[in-house]
Each structure stands twice: as structure tokens, then as C-alpha cells.
Subunit: 333 residues, 2 copies
């Protein structure tokens, strides 16, 4: 077996978030389903930007946020994703490498711009996302570095990778390499609408064991099993998945492994909940850090809850404090 | 007299902030004087960016922040400043217009990039700034729209305009037009090091009455009068300035007009002080809104304190809530 170089290698859409505060009426007027992620084209991206309020820009992308969280915890991690070599691409590259993540994928020198996700945050902290995939559509199997995947304990993939057609092949290639090297594969379901688009394929990945660790929130899991009852969904995933970590919003999370269920409460938020973007991504970061370090289900879940609580206390989907220090203060590392 | 179209027209450096959390050691290692603003060239900007941690991007610029605050309060305002027509220039233009500010100055189609200010925020919320002026250096007297200045009750200028050489002429031209039209001119001293660079000229502007309203914080005022004693500085400015509004950090502010002194306490911060960037700019926004609406010194100062408290409760130098609604909740409008 190749020596371990990385705790986690993540593959996902490389996106810069454009985050603005808004009100419920704006979402209604623009026909945006609150809490969802909608794919948009370039013309719609320009139109939406011209209509929305003042914004801030912050590197995002679901798997990339998770890797940033792992980097902030002190994990050895790498990210594979596609930006263009433009101004926002430079921002994305700076931010992910500055937090300690290897980012070997070269930027595209031509073609469409670096991806942007317009995130509209309502006063309740809920976020509604419209994503222009741009350069992410160029990610393909050729971007998967076989040696890097072999050298990672866990290869982490986001469900959103199913949206750009070539990225799905990258996903499958990476999963095959990882399993061939005796490594684990983790999947985040990303979004309930994403699950709705690719339900059959996601279920197959889980049931065939192509995925070892599944991350989902309650609405994604209910979408996966087409039920409105979380208990029904949890029973189903307990049967299908080797290891599933399911976040339940204010009710914390539940981790299920071989029939064993472990609950952990939500961690207290410093101040008020400002912006829920990245909560699931950072939960996955904390949980995976615990997982690769042998912390056990309970402590891994608590670390996930702590990282999620930090990221929802401010605008933006990546940590604003060093999570390693925060985890130490809370006695979790 | 030209009919009033604007409450305030502001002229300043059009800058996008690149904001990162850091520690005291980084400032020491990079030779950065804590709390100051240092001008840097493009090579240093690239080097500093490569060394600093993950960041977020948010539109900034001292006078531009003040105008954004006035726009958020519901004031009729315009901004004159120079960006390049590049990606960050588009971000700046979007953000300032989306908050309700007219921004008639065209972007430069060639030349150096839109200005960036690297803002390093230490755990105490203090910010240390390194500014690459870029396209701001192209602002000149030709950018001053005479009719717009004549149509503004107050023309607001930042001391930082003294840094790019051509901008000083724009400043003087705008002040002359404003006074010729019977309007008022306000000046913000910007930074104690900026005062140190241009002390004699700033004192002359104040003493000759070219400036009607002076904004300063305690360290800027002490730098202006080369004293370590705030009382000495306040006595001096009471003698020199028609109207001075001086912020005193946690001690609130004092407004001095014709020998009369009015104090207002700092407004309580929602949560903890996260990032002091923009505190003085937003104080000026609240005070000017009160001033042009005849609220009197005390209520104007309280409105300034309220706007400042909002902006230091989060990362970034512009309001994240509608200040008009916040002021109404606090009984100030």
C-alpha cells in the first residue's frame, strides 16, 4: 500500500461565493426556492448580480469548504477542482492554499470564468444559492492524480460533482483508485434538490459499497428515501450505508455504523446564527478529522458539531478562527 | 443656488478590501505598524498576499464606506472615485450602487488594476492596513462633476486623497466648487500616519475655513497637533475648526462647535468587537445624516455611534443590516 500522505483528499466544484443579505420578498420575486441550490447560466448570473444587494466575496464550494476546515484543524489534506486562471481563480487558490490545503489542479487558461455562487442570506440565517458553474465544467477524469488519491486515507466527494457531466467521470475514477488502494470513499449528498436529480445513482453508490462514509442533512436523507419521516429515512440508511453521519439542524446529529446509533447535540453558537452556509461542510470536516485520527463516533461527531457552530456564527462558509485551537479549548483534540 | 440633489457627495479612493485574520507575530514579522495604513507597491502587494491567510473580499475605501453608510440610512448620496474596469472594479461598482449610492465616475479601461487594501485583523479587532492604490492614482480634477458638487449639501473628502498626487487637485477643485455654491465641505483625517505626512496642509485647510466639518479619531487629532494629550488637542481644534467630530474609541465621541462640546457614549456592540475597520467611516455616515437633516449635535453623534457599533460587530467595513431600520429601532430617525 502507498504510504499515507494525506488524511483526506477532496474533489469538488471550485467556487467563489458572492454573499448578500436579503429579505424573503426578494426570494419570492426572483422565484428562488429558499434553502436550495439552483444552477444558473452566465446571463442569469449577471442579471441576478445586478439585482442583488451589496455583497462580499469569499472562497466556497462544498468539498473545498470541508477541506479548508480540515486544514484549519491541522489535517493533511488536498483538493482537486477547476478554476480559471482569472482574478477570482487567484482568490480561490490563495484562500485554499493559505489555510493549509494542497491544491495541485492547474487553472484553465481559457474558456469560461471561475465559478460563482450567489448566496442570499435571509434574516433567519438561511441561505439560498444560485450557482454559475463556469470553469468547474472543465473538471474531468484527467485531473485526478492517481498517486494523490492512493496516498489519502479518505477520498471525499461532493454530490454536486454529478452536475457538470465530465466531473462524474472524475468522481468514479477517484473512487475506483481509492478502493483499489484499500482506502475509503466518502460522499456528501450536497442538497435535497441535487439528491432528487441523481437519487438512483446515489443510492447505487451507497448500496454497492462504492461509498464507505455518507454525509447528509435531514432534508437530503428524506429526499434520498422519498419520505417525509426522518426515522424512516434513518432506518433505511442504517440498512444501506456502512457509516452515515446525518446532521439534524438545531437537534445536532446522529451517526450510524453497523446498526449502532450515536447522537451528539448541536454545539452552542457564539452570538447568533448569522449565515448557515457551510454548516454541513464544516460538520464533515470535524467528523472526518476525528475519523482519520481514531477518535470514535461520539467525539468525531462532537468535533463536527463544534466546527459547524463556528461557521454559522459569521458570514461565509469557511472558518474565521483556527479550528485546531478552538477544538483544543473545547477538549476535543 | 443649484437645487439640492444630494445630501452628501463623497470623493475618495475606490478600494476593494482583502480581509484576513492574523496574529500579532505576523505583523511584527512583516514590519507592519499595528493600526496604521501603509502604502505599498504592486510587488509588495503580491508578496504580502502570498504570505497572509485566507481572506474575504469586500468593497471598502474610507469615503466610499461613509457613502455606503449614508445610502443605508436612506440618504441621497453620490461617490466619485476611480476603479479599473476589471473584475474587482465590477465588484466595487456593484456594491456601492446596490446600497443606493450614485457612482458616475467611469472605470479606467487600461492601466493598473483596481486598488486593494490588505486588512489584517488581530484577535482584539484592531486592523492594520496595507494599500496598493492602483487605479486610484488615475483620479484627477477632470473626474469632478461640477454640477454634482454644486447640487450636494455637503462635499465629503478623505485625507487619504492627499496620497495619489492628482487626487489632491480633484480635492481642491471640489472644495472650491462647493464653497462657490454656498455648500459645506467635510474632511476626514483618515489615519494618524496620513496626518503626519500632510499635517501643514491639513491644518491650513481647517484654519482657512476651506473645511467646514472635520472628522478625526483621537490618535489622528493628537497627530495633527503633535501632542500626546487629547485635551490639548481638543482645545486646539475647538479654536481652529468650525465644527469637529472626534471619536474616542470605547469612550464614544465628542462634537465641538463654536466652543460648545457635546459628548455621546459608544453604542453597545451586538456580540463582540470583531473588526474595527470602518468604525470612523460609519461614525461619519451617521453624524452627517443627522447633520444634513437638522438633528442637532447630540442626536447626530448618537446616530454616528450606532452606525459605528454595527460595523465593528462583523468582518468588513460596510453595514450588513439596513441602517435606516436599525436607527428607527433605536429611536434615532
Amino acid at each position: 500500500m502507498t504510504a499515507t500522505k494525506y488524511d483526506v483528499l477532496g474533489i469538488g466544484n471550485a467556487i467563489v461565493d458572492v454573499i448578500a443579505m436579503t429579505d424573503e420578498e426578494f426570494l419570492v420575486r426572483e422565484g428562488l426556492a429558499k434553502g436550495s441550490m439552483t444552477l444558473i447560466d452566465e446571463a442569469r448570473a449577471e442579471a441576478l448580480y445586478s439585482l442583488m444587494g451589496p455583497a462580499i466575496e469569499a472562497s466556497g464550494g462544498s468539498a473545498a469548504n470541508t477541506l479548508a476546515g480540515l486544514g484549519s484543524l491541522g489535517g493533511k489534506v488536498a483538493f482537486i477542482g477547476k478554476v480559471k486562471a482569472d482574478a477570482l481563480g487567484a482568490v480561490f487558490r490563495h484562500d485554499i492554499t493559505a489555510i493549509g490545503v494542497d491544491f495541485p489542479t492547474p487553472g484553465a487558461s481559457d474558456g469560461v470564468a471561475t465559478a460563482r455562487c450567489f448566496i442570499l442570506v435571509t434574516p433567519d440565517g438561511e441561505r439560498t444559492m444560485s450557482t454559475y458553474l463556469g470553469a468547474c465544467q472543465g473538471l474531468n477524469a484527467g485531473d485526478i492524480d492517481e498517486e494523490a488519491v492512493k496516498a489519502a486515507k479518505v477520498t471525499y466527494l461532493e454530490g454536486y460533482l454529478w452536475d457538470p457531466p465530465a466531473a462524474k467521470e472524475a468522481f468514479r475514477k477517484a473512487a475506483a483508485i481509492a478502493h483499489g488502494a484499500g482506502r475509503q470513499v466518502a460522499l456528501s449528498l450536497s442538497d435535497s434538490f441535487c439528491v432528487d436529480r441523481y437519487r438512483a445513482e446515489f443510492l447505487e453508490l451507497i448500496r454497492t459499497g462504492e461509498v464507505d462514509i455518507l454525509f447528509a442533512n435531514d432534508s437530503e436523507l428524506k429526499s434520498l428515501y422519498e419520505t417525509g419521516d426522518i426515522e424512516t429515512a434513518l432506518a433505511a440508511v442504517a440498512n444501506d450505508a456502512k457509516l452515515a453521519a446525518v446532521t439534524l439542524g438545531a437537534d445536532g446529529c446522529v451517526v450510524i455504523e453497523r446498526g449502532e446509533r450515536v447522537y451528539a447535540p448541536a454545539a452552542p453558537v457564539d452570538g447568533s446564527i448569522v449565515d448557515k452556509t457551510g454548516a454541513g461542510d464544516l460538520f464533515a470536516a470535524g467528523f472526518l478529522y476525528g475519523h482519520v485520527n481514531g477518535f470514535g463516533l461520539k467525539r468525531s461527531a462532537e468535533l463536527g458539531a463544534l466546527a459547524a457552530a463556528e461557521v454559522i456564527s459569521h458570514v461565509g462558509a469557511r472558518p474565521q478562527v483556527e479550528l485546531k485551537a478552538l477544538a483544543a479549548e473545547n477538549g476535543l483534540v
